[in-house]
Every structure is written in C-alpha cells, then in structure tokens.
C-alpha cells in the first residue's frame, strides 16, 4: 500500500499525500501541522483553479454531494477532511492572503484567491482592452456574464470590486452610478508623463 498520486474523475491530479489516512486529521505537532496545512492549501487553490471555483464552506466538509467532494473526501481510504480542520485551514489561507472571508465577519465560508486581486485586475484590464470596451460604461453583469465566455465569467462581485478598486488606484477605471445601480468605465493607459 505505497502512497501514490490519483487522478479524479474531473481530471485533477491529487498528490500522493492525499492517499495517506493521517492527512485528513488535524496534526497536534506544530511542524507536522504546518506541512499538512501547506499541502491542503496547495490542493484547494489548484483544485479551485482547475474547476473555476470561488467559494468553499465548512459545510462542504460536513455533508457530501458538492463540488468539493473530490478533494475533501477520499473514498478509496474512507477518509474525509474533518470540518474543524477545514476551518483551521481557512484561518491560515486568510492570514496568508490567498483567501478572504466572504461574506465578511464570519468564518464558515471563504472566497478563494486562486488568482490574487492584483492578478484579476490585470486579467480584467486585458479583457476590456481586447474586447474594445475602453471608455464605455459597463455594468458588473456585463463583465461577469458576457455572451462569449471569458476568463472573467462567473467572477464573484466582491472579487470584481477589488480588481476595479486596484485599477482605479492607477486611474485605469472608475465606478459610476447608473440607472440600474453601478457601472464601471475603463480608461486606456495614458503615456506616463
């Protein structure tokens, strides 16, 4: 029973540590704990990117039958990530700024930054420029649900707001109040003086 890697039905490659039974229990020794937690964070970030998932909740570990089953459970060795441990992993992800509690002021659900808000800002700006939407006012809905699928499809609004805020700092975007609520206008980068 050597530990080996495993490819899930969705085509995600799980590292060999995922087939080790103790990996699913929160380790009491600080060094072991940090090793295991690092591995879990890597797996969660990679899987989120693989399936384009943006949120994970403690209850995903409590009840089966959700998009996270493939990594939170290992049926082959009959183990599942314990909810208390997942909650600890959340605190670590938030403190490392690869996730944020969403909605804020609770600790049961996080928004996963498999791309950092800064990276999303660049992706957003690239997309606006390649679809010739500079200077036009766009609604959030137009960005996150475009007729042609884009790298920004289904991007959660809080993440979109952060990305716009980052662009606004460098004068590349501006939030504008419009009839249906809020919109955003992007500006082409001016040659730096």
């Amino acid at each position: 029973m050597a530990l080996s890697t495993h490819t899930t039905t969705s085509g995600f490659l799980l590292p060999s540590i995922h087939s080790a039974p103790p990996f699913f229990t929160q380790q009491p020794h600080p060094t072991s704990l940090s090793i295991a937690t690092d591995q879990w964070i890597q797996i969660i970030l990679k899987y989120a990117r693989h399936r384009r998932l943006f949120t994970i909740r403690v209850q995903d570990a409590e009840t089966p039958g959700n998009v996270w089953d493939e990594i939170l459970r290992n049926e082959r060795i009959n183990r599942k990530l314990l909810p208390s441990y997942l909650s600890y992993i959340f605190t670590q992800m938030v403190s490392r700024k690869v996730a944020a509690y969403d909605p804020p002021k609770q600790d049961r659900s996080i928004l996963i930054y498999w791309r950092l808000p800064e990276e999303w800002a660049e992706v957003l700006y690239e997309w606006v420029s390649s679809t010739a939407n500079m200077n036009t006012i766009m609604t959030f809905y137009e960005i996150t649900d475009p007729p042609i699928e884009s790298p920004l499809s289904a991007l959660p609004i809080p993440l979109l707001r952060q990305a716009i805020a980052i662009l606004a700092k460098s004068n590349r975007a501006q939030i504008i109040a419009i009839a249906e609520g809020e919109g955003v206008r992007f500006f082409p980068t001016t040659i730096k003086a």
């Binding site: 029973m1 050597a2 060999s16 540590i17 039974p21 229990t25």
Partner: protein
Amino acid sequence: MHRLNGVGLAALDRHTSTSRSYDLLSTSLSQQQVAHLHSQLNSFRSALTTFATNHRDDILHDPAFRHQFTQMCSSIGVDPLAGPRRGGWWAELLSSVGDWQYELGVQIVDICVSTRERNGGMIELSELVRLIRKLRGVPDGQDEKKKGTVTEEDIIRSVKTLSPLGAGYTIVTLDDGRRMVRSVPKELDEDQAVILALARAPGRYGKLTIDDLVLQRDEGGRGWTRERARGALENMLLRDGLCWVDEQDPVHDKVYWVTSAMKWD
C-alpha cells in the same frame, strides 16, 4: 668495580670521563636513528603521495578500492579525513579522498534536510544511498563496481566527518539491524527505537496502534503495558513530530503513522 675504577680521587675523574664517553656515543647513536627514521618517513611519504596521485581516479570512483585504501590508512594510523589542521601534511597528501568525503557529506545534508518534512529527520541508510545515487546521476542497480557509485560504508564515514558541525547527524541501529541516519539532534530513547523497527515491519508501511505495541513481545517474551505504549507513541507524536495521527480509523480511536516508514511513490 673498585679495582676497575681504581681508588681515591682518580676514580672520580675516571668515572666522569667514562660517563661522558657513553653520553657521546648514545647521542650519536640516536642521531643516526632519527636520521634513519626521517629518511624512512620521507620515502614512505613520497610513496604514499605517488600512490594517492596515481590511483586518485580509482579512489574517487571505485568504492571497493576506496574502502581498501581508507582501511590501509587507518591501520597505519593515518586519518585521511582529519582535515588540514589535525591531520597536518597527511591530509594534504590525501586531500582528494578528504574532498570526496566532504562533498558526499554535503550531499547527505542536502538529502536529510530536504526529506526531513516527510520522514521527521530519520532516513533509512539504504534509502539515503538510493537518493544520493539519484542526485549524482548514477544509474540505479546493485552494481557496486560501477564508477562513481556510493556505498553505505562511504556514507557512514561521511556522517562521522559531519560530527564537528554539531548538527547531530548520527547513525542509529535499530533492533532488527537496519541502520538509519538521524538528522535531528534528539535522543531516541529505547522505546522509540523499538517502535521505529516495528513500524518498518513488512506490510505495515508505518501504521501503528497502541494494541500493536501491547501485543508485540521482546526476546524475553515480555510485552508492553498499555500506558507504556501510549506514552511512547504520544511522545513521538507530540514532542518529536516523528509520526502523524489518524483519528478516523474505523477500528481504533487513534492510529499513529510513522512518517519515516511510509512509502511514497
């Protein structure tokens, strides 16, 4: 004596002159001996140098030859690893062997440190040999004659050269005779040595429970009490981080996994 040396004051004089002659003679004799030793030493030194230079490649690449050479060195009281400070000119002469050994030491540290996360600082000697061969790009296989290959003896010798660093690198021999290199400066108590040996038993892959320890018997047929077993395992888990705990086993409350005995692909 009296007749030979005469009597009276003349005897005293003669006695002094005799002992002076003896002194002279012994000085010249010992000078001769020292000169003789010096010339012997010189020829030995040049012979050793020539030998080390001529066979440098063999020493570096052929493990069997290297073993013989270091054995020869130790039987004549030369330590090729003593380093320039302690070993004086010996070490300079044999520097090729010393360098080789130090280089191996660096590779051992490299592997011990990089695998520490998954084995808790205990690595089996044979596994270390395998990884070093991989690191050096020596093709796998049991061919000890192959150039550039490294043997367990080489590693044991190199680990000894690491001792002045104070990093606590030591060779630990388990009850079943297997040897491990420990790179964490901790004392393994006897119970832990037993546990490590048991964790490596065929088919176990590092998995251990308190029951396993209670059921095992030493040579005298004595088993461990439940408290002793729990204490030893909890120490390894909480104090030393040498094993991980699994609380989801269907049969046992707690299953301990000794990381250094787990097999990873």
